[in-house]
């Protein structure tokens, strides 16, 4: 069963329903999809594979999915605006015999395949790193994402669970940064004056640079800010490192997870048996790989590995056999 399924999928159509395209991360994600889809079409691995983005509106996305059902797609890949609100339409799609793959933020409807990160481990890795650097004692600022979002809930739960192991790490402040540098900067800047010394900032990606700017403006000593793989974060980290020996690490989801979902859908259509839940490794960048990733990431963009069919199949294999996930190789 393992390995690449080879059945002919050149006439199959995969629709991608994306909940939101209004930030750079999502733009890269859509672009990654288009890149891999174009390539796959050249290789006669797929037929048509269009993208439709909704405006962060569940109802709009649900309408898009319903239209895809109407148009008779073979598979629908979903980046969902809500992990439960699409259940109704996903069920309709499954009932119509369509393969549904949701990724990065799941759809709880059991008939859908899920391609996702272990969000809790995101938080755990942050806390473990910070605890090791601070020798288990210090003040933390937590930057969360959007209230009511399941990803935000899962990462934060991971952070708080990991914190139980370090009783002397204390969260002294918490803001919602909406995964946006500008918002994070504003919220953090407004909070800093009323905080005691902050030793580390744990966040959810996309907000590290904003926090750094807020701390810079406040004139406070710079805490350890966990970065989120954005080019500006890596560049800032590198510059701080050269100037002041600043150390941190960077972790985040990768936009190209859309490619993983693409290949998973393609493989299912090709007849491969795939587990209902496929975990994808988070991209963690430590000091030694920083410069390589930085060089590979376009200015203002996000570190974004390219997932080949082979790499994705090995991820599927690892999931099927509960083996450790393959590491994402750093760029040369």
């Amino acid at each position: 069963e393992d390995g690449v399924a080879k059945a002919d999928t050149s006439q199959k159509r995969i629709g991608f329903s994306n909940s939101y395209a209004g930030n750079s991360f999502r733009q890269v994600m859509v672009k990654s999809w288009q890149d891999v889809a174009t390539q796959a079409r050249k290789d006669r691995l797929i037929g048509d594979s269009p993208v439709v983005s909704a405006n962060n509106s569940v109802t709009e996305q649900a309408a898009h999915i319903q239209n895809m059902i109407l148009q008779g797609y073979d598979a629908i890949v979903i980046l969902a605006a809500s992990d439960t609100a699409l259940n109704g339409v996903v069920k309709q799609a499954c009932d119509a015999g369509i393969v549904v793959v949701s990724f990065a933020g799941i759809v709880t409807q059991p008939c859908a395949y899920q391609v996702n990160y272990d969000w809790a481990s995101y938080g755990k890795q942050e806390i473990d790193y910070v605890a090791q650097r601070l020798k288990g004692k210090g003040n933390l600022l937590e930057i969360r994402g959007i209230a009511g979002d399941s990803t935000d809930r899962d990462i934060s739960a991971g952070i708080h669970k990991a914190l139980k192991n370090y009783p002397d790490l204390k969260i002294v402040g918490m803001v919602y940064g909406q995964w946006t540098a500008a918002v994070a900067q504003k919220e953090v800047a407004g909070l800093i004056p009323s905080l005691p010394q902050v030793d580390a900032v744990v966040d959810q990606g996309g907000d590290g640079y904003g926090a750094a700017r807020a701390f810079e403006a406040s004139g406070r000593p710079m805490p350890i800010i966990v970065m989120g793989n954005r080019q500006d974060e890596l560049a800032w980290w590198k510059q701080q490192h050269t100037q002041k020996q600043y150390e941190t690490f960077s972790i985040s989801a990768t936009p190209s997870i859309s490619q993983v979902a693409f290949w998973v859908a393609q493989q299912i259509l090709a007849g491969r048996k795939v587990p209902k839940y496929v975990e994808v490794p988070l991209l963690r960048i430590d000091a030694r790989d920083r410069d390589a990733w930085l060089a590979d990431t376009p200015a203002g963009g996000v570190a974004n590995p390219f997932y080949t069919q082979g790499l994705v199949v090995s991820i599927i294999d690892a999931n099927a056999h509960r083996k450790p996930l393959p590491a994402i190789p750093a760029p040369k």
Partner: protein, 319 residues
């Protein structure tokens, strides 16, 4: 209150007026035509059902917004209120139906209370409802910290009904338009409502209690919004605090698109229903057109322009 420029006497032809009233309907028909042409499969009982069932909650929300706009007010909280209702439905309706009903009734009461607050303190509704939007979002997060819950099966089943002749969403749209038209345009109390929106002083001088009119209107709007939330949670089978923030703007847009005006008293329930369907179809038309992702957003704008550009043709250059 009224922009008098809109009322300067100009003997305009009645035909042009009727034509412009029919425009949104025409635009909607054209849009449907394009969709059926691109995707003939959509032209079936099943297809139309799929195409239109998500416009049902928007129609209800837009009718609620219409009532508020008819008073010259505006409701910026309707999106988060609908989200709140879906949470209540998903969390409580199956396990504790009485509690759910009580909460929803209380929520309608809050709507009515908002009306009184706005009236007695003569506050701008825009600020009060903006504040309420935070309150509703907060309350829904309190009930349901992250999306989940499950709408009861009987509710989900209700929306799967297959009435004869036309699919359920079409029936509901027609019914909503007819009831709305009767209640607001034909019934004797609807007259008072529209009068109070345009010239509250005159209505008060005739002995009507303005505060009562407002309370009734807000409570009715609350009921419709509750219905919208219930239907939405039936479609999505779950609750989500952030399910419908877009409804705030969409519902306002639908009212205006349907021929309503912010100046109060000028509304058209039939137009609103069509406006709401237009908005929800405009978004899904995109998924048929297969545009490059970057231009999908812009295309929605272009569709809006095309839908409305006909007004110039019908009414001539001068307003």
């Amino acid at each position: 209150m009224l922009d008098p420029a809109a009322f300067v006497h100009r003997p305009g032809s009645v035909r042009a007026e009727h034509l412009s009233a029919a425009l949104p309907a025409f635009a909607l028909a054209v849009m449907l035509g394009i969709i059926f042409w691109i995707q003939p499969r959509a032209l079936s009982y099943f297809g139309i059902n799929l195409l239109l069932n998500l416009s049902v909650p928007l129609i209800l929300a837009a009718m609620a917004q219409m009532l508020i706009i008819s008073l010259g007010d505006i409701d910026l909280s309707i999106g988060s209120f609908v989200g709140f209702v879906t949470c209540v439905v998903a969390v409580f309706l199956a396990s504790a139906p009485l509690l759910a009903a009580a909460i929803l009734l209380a929520a309608i009461g809050v709507y009515a209370g908002t009306a009184m607050l706005i009236f007695y303190r003569s506050l701008p509704s825009i600020v009060v409802t903006l504040g309420m939007s935070f309150v509703w979002l907060g309350l829904s997060l309190l009930i349901l910290p992250s999306p989940g819950g499950l709408a009861p099966d009987w509710l989900t089943g209700l929306l799967d009904a297959k009435p004869p002749l036309l699919p359920l969403p079409v029936w509901i749209a027609v019914l909503a338009a007819a009831c709305g038209h009767w209640a607001v345009m034909r019934s004797s109390y609807g007259v008072v409502l529209r009068g109070a929106g345009a010239n509250p002083k005159a209505v008060a001088r005739s002995g009507w209690s303005l505060v009562r009119v407002r309370v009734v209107v807000y409570a009715a709007a609350g009921c419709l919004a509750v219905l919208a939330g219930i239907v939405l949670s039936a479609i999505t089978t779950s609750g989500d605090p952030n399910v419908a923030p877009a409804y705030t703007l969409l519902s306002i847009g639908a009212v205006i698109l349907g021929g309503g005006s912010f100046t109060g008293g000028i509304i058209s329930p039939v137009g609103v229903v069509i406006g709401a369907m237009t908005f929800s179809l405009a978004a899904s038309l995109l998924s048929f057109l297969q545009l490059p992702p970057v231009w999908q957003t812009g295309a929605q704008g272009a569709i809006l322009f095309l839908v409305l550009a006909g007004r110039v043709l019908v009414q001539g250059r001068k307003p």
